[in-house]
């Protein structure tokens, strides 16, 4: 159960080995990797800068992770979120959940991503291929995706 905010890239395989390697109580490991695309809303994107709120972002991620552990029987979990300057094809975010059964691992990973997207203080600024810059707008769909966990 840990969270990290970092500029450096992460290594999916190494993170999974560190979390689950050598354990025989884990039956299911789900990972989500968010990758920067070269287009957004039909616009060609050349780069992106991720800003965050040091001192709030980390505990907010930890709260989201703790909530997932409350809801599902997880043996292990990890959230890694990158900040700084990224280019298309670069990794942005990694979520890993491990449980005895697949349903819990899948549900917890989706929950972490939905909640992270609406609660964790990160802001993306895109540089268009045409040289213009713009702050990415929050997506209404993300708010809806997060809200489905409130009833459950």
């Amino acid at each position: 159960m840990s969270v990290r905010v970092q500029q450096e890239d992460f290594d999916l395989g190494a993170e999974v080995r560190r979390l689950a390697g050598g354990r025989s109580d884990i039956g299911a490991i789900v990972t989500f990797t968010g990758v920067m695309r070269g287009d957004n809303d039909g616009r060609a994107v050349a780069g992106m800068t991720l800003e965050y709120y040091p001192g709030m972002t980390e505990p907010e991620l930890a709260r989201v992770e703790a909530e997932a552990c409350n809801r599902w029987p997880l043996q292990a979990s990890l959230i890694v979120h990158r900040v700084g300057t990224l280019k298309p094809g670069d990794n942005i975010v990694l979520v890993i959940t491990a449980s005895a059964h697949r349903q819990a691992a899948f549900a917890a990973a989706e929950f972490l991503m939905d909640y992270l997207k609406t609660r964790a203080p990160f802001w993306k600024k895109e540089s268009g291929a045409d040289g213009t810059q713009r702050w990415v707008d929050a997506r209404e769909g993300d708010e809806q995706a997060a809200s489905r966990w409130r009833a459950g």
Partner: protein, 85 residues
């Protein structure tokens, strides 16, 4: 009551600074009132908070609603809806 006020993303860019110490008048009790008072400080603030329903706030690094009381907080942050993940 002097508190540290932080601005992020386009709120920071519009106001032109990322951090300042602010002495709020005694009549300013809530986050919404703090926003209304900040808007009177200059056109850059008025622009940043032109749509106060869009700007989010945190008190001492916890998300809060506009009606949250600021008394006792040492840090207030204002920022757009988050776009991580």
């Amino acid at each position: 009551m002097a508190v540290t006020v932080l601005y992020f993303a386009w709120v920071r860019e519009k106001i032109g600074k990322s951090e300042e110490r602010v002495e709020f008048p005694a009549g300013v009790k809530t986050v919404a009132e703090a926003v209304a008072w900040l808007k009177t400080r200059g056109p850059e603030y008025a622009d940043a908070f032109a749509r106060p329903d869009v700007v989010r706030a945190a008190l001492d690094r916890t998300h809060v609603k506009p009606d949250a009381k600021i008394a006792g907080a040492s840090e207030i942050a204002f920022f757009p809806p988050v776009t991580g993940g």
